[in-house]
Amino acid sequence: MIKEVDEQYWSNNVSSSKKSLFFEVDFLEGVAESFSYNLHYFVFENKNKVLMAAALYSDGNNIVTCLPYTYSSIYFGDGLSDRKYLLITNDFIRFLKLKWQKISLRLPVEIKDIRPFIWGGFKISNRYTYLKETETSFPKKVVKNAEKATTDGMTLKVINAEDIDLKTCIKSFAKQGFDKRIVQSNLEMLASLTEQNQLLAFRADTNEGCVCTSLMLVDAMQKKAYALLISESLNEFAHVYINYERCKWCIKNGISQIDFCGANEPGIANFKSSFNGVLTSYSIVHYNPKYAFFNKRIQSLREIAKLIISRKFVF
C-alpha cells in the first residue's frame, strides 16, 4: 500500500538505493524552498522492498510541478509486471486524489504506460524530447559547423553557474516559455542548484566576448545531463558549437546521456534533431476534480443515450 513517509525514511530507503539527483533530499528541498512549496515523500513497499517511490511538491491543495524542463521524481522498481504496475499506480492515484485537489505531474520518460492516469480521469498531454547517447556520432554538417566556429576563434568555457549573470540569462530564457511571473523563484532554484554543484554554465566566447550561454543540470550518479536552457545568439554557429563541445565535455566527464529537454516547438525541435538524438515521448498529466466530474457525467449521458437509441431499434 502507498504511504507517505518522512525525510529520514526516504533518505534511508530510497535515496540510498535509487542513486539519482532527483531523489536526493538536498536537491528536492532546495527546489521546494525556492518556490515555497511543501515536499512530500511517498513509497509503495512489499516485503520491505521499495517497489515505487515519488517525491512531489504541493502548493496549498494542489500537487504541482515546478521544474519546467525536467521530470517529476517518480520511479518504479525493475522487473514489475504489467499487473503489478497497474495496481501500484492505481493505488498511488487514489491516494493523491484523497488528499489533494488538482494534481499535475511530468512523468519521466521511463513511464510509458499511462493508462492508470487515463482511467483516473487525468488530462494527458503527449510531449517529446531528444535523448542523445554521448558516444554516438554527430552528422557531418554539425561537425563541419562546429569546426568552422573553432577556426574562427570561438572557445568554450565551462564555469560554475554562479559566475554568470542568471538574471540576464532568465530574461533571455523567458522568450522560450519561461514564466516571467516566477522569475525570482527560478533564480533562487538555479542558485540553489549552483550551490550544490549540480548546475554548470557553458559559455562560448569569441574575440568580441561572450556570444552564447547555456545551462546544464548534471546528474552524476545516473551519468545523465539535462540541457536546460540556451541563450539567444547572433553568431550563426554558436548554438551548434556549444552543443557539440558540451557533448565532448560530457564524454570526458563520464556522462553517457544528454536530455535535450524538449522537442515540442517546431523550430527548436528541428534544430535539436540535427544532433542525432533519439526522439522519446513522455507525458504531462493533469487532474482537476471539476473537469473529471464534468467529463464523467458527459460520458454517462452518452452511454445512456446510446442505450436508449439501441433499445429503440431493437424493440
Binding site: 499487473r83 510509458k112 493508462r115 522537442a263 534533431s273 515521448s281 446510446k306 439501441s310 431499434f313
Partner: protein, 320 residues
C-alpha cells in the same frame, strides 16, 4: 524545388507502394471492401520532395470529413524508408495536414503503432488521444501461470474448429455486440464489414464447441504479407469462464496461427481496464498508438477562448 501534394488514384497508389511491405489495411481488397460497406470515397494523398515520394496515405472521406471506418482498423501509412527518421517526414505530414484542413471540416485518423511521432498533428491543432494495444509474439507461446494451468487441463470438455459455421458466427457476434450496447447502425456496419473482408479472404474464424454445440469464437483479420493477425472480435463465453473456455480458445487460435506461419498477433485494444487485465495474462507487449482528430469549429472556439484567457491574464497581472 519543394514539397508537393498530390491526390492520386488507386492504381498509382498501388504502383508506389508495390515494392514496400503493404499491410492488410493498405491492401487494395481491404480498401475497396471498406469503401463499399461504409459508402466512403477514397482520398489517396501523396507528398513528394524534389519528385521523390516521401509519404502516402490512403484515406477515407465522407461528405466534408476525413474519417475511419471503425475501431478494428489502423490507418495504413507509407513512408519512404530512407526518410523515415528524418525531419522531411515531419514536413511532409505538415504539408498533407494543411491540405486536408483546407478542404475538410473534420479529420479523424487512427494512426498505426509504427507512427510514434504525433508532433505534426499537435502543431496543426489536432487533438491527440493516446490509445494502447497488446501485441503478442508467437515465437514462444508463454502465458501467465493461471492461463498455463487452464491450458494444461487434461479433462477436455471443448472442441475447436476453424473457418466453418459462418452463419452461426455472424449471429453470435451480432448478439454479442448488442449486449455490449453497440448501436444498431454501427453493429450492422461491423457485420457487413467483416462479411466483406471474409469474402476478400482477409478474415478467419476460430470456433469453440461444447458437445458439438457452437459456443463462442474469435474473429481474426489476417495479414499474410506482414505475418500479423488482429483479434477484433473475441466472443464472450457466458457460463464457461470458470471452466476456462476463453483461455483455451485463445490458446487454440494462437497455436493455429503460429502453425500457419504468423509471427505476431495484435489483440486490438488494451484500453478497457477489465479486458486489458485479462489480455495481459497472455504476456503480450503493450504498445501505444494515437487517434488524432481535428474539427475546424472546435479549433476556432479554442483559439478565441485562449485569446480571451490571455487578455484576462495580462489584466490580472498588471492589476496585481
Amino acid at each position: 524545388m519543394s514539397y508537393k501534394y498530390q491526390e492520386i488514384d488507386i492504381e498509382r497508389w498501388c504502383e508506389i507502394t508495390k515494392e514496400g511491405e503493404v499491410g492488410v489495411f493498405g491492401s487494395k481488397e481491404f480498401l475497396l471492401t471498406t469503401a463499399e460497406v461504409y459508402k466512403y470515397n477514397f482520398l489517396f494523398c501523396l507528398v513528394t520532395y524534389n519528385g521523390n515520394s516521401i509519404l502516402t496515405v490512403p484515406l477515407f472521406t465522407h461528405k466534408s470529413k476525413v474519417t475511419f471506418p471503425n475501431h478494428y482498423f489502423y490507418q495504413f501509412v507509407w513512408q519512404n524508408e530512407w526518410e523515415k527518421e528524418s525531419w522531411s517526414v515531419l514536413d511532409a505530414w505538415d504539408v498533407l495536414l494543411k491540405q486536408l484542413q483546407s478542404k475538410y471540416t473534420e479529420i479523424k485518423i487512427r494512426l498505426p503503432i509504427s507512427v510514434t511521432d504525433s508532433r505534426p498533428f499537435i502543431w496543426n491543432n489536432f487533438d491527440i488521444n493516446i490509445k494502447y494495444t497488446y501485441i503478442k509474439t508467437l515465437v514462444d507461446l508463454c502465458y501467465h501461470q493461471n492461463i498455463k494451468r487452464i491450458v494444461k487441463k487434461e479433462k477436455v470438455e471443448y472442441t475447436f474448429k476453424k473457418n466453418c459455421d459462418w452463419d452461426e458466427n455472424w449471429k453470435f457476434h451480432n448478439e454479442d455486440l448488442n449486449s455490449f450496447g453497440v448501436r444498431v447502425i454501427h453493429k450492422s456496419s461491423y457485420m457487413k464489414y467483416f462479411k466483406g473482408l471474409k469474402d476478400s479472404g482477409l478474415v478467419q474464424v476460430f470456433n469453440a464447441y461444447h458437445n458439438n454445440v457452437f459456443l463462442s469464437s474469435i474473429l481474426v483479420i489476417i495479414d499474410r504479407r506482414l505475418k500479423t493477425a488482429y483479434f477484433p472480435l473475441i466472443g464472450t463465453a457466458d457460463g464457461h469462464y470458470k471452466s476456462g473456455l476463453p483461455a483455451m480458445l485463445y490458446n487454440y487460435t494462437l497455436t493455429e496461427l503460429k502453425s500457419e506461419g504468423f509471427e505476431t498477433v495484435d489483440l486490438v485494444g488494451a484500453n478497457i481496464r477489465n479486458i486489458a487485465k485479462y489480455k495481459s495474462k497472455f504476456l503480450p507487449t503493450l504498445f501505444p498508438f494515437f487517434e488524432v482528430s481535428y474539427s475546424k469549429r472546435a479549433v476556432f472556439a479554442k483559439t478565441k477562448i485562449l485569446k480571451i484567457k490571455k487578455i484576462i491574464g495580462k489584466i490580472l497581472f498588471w492589476v496585481k
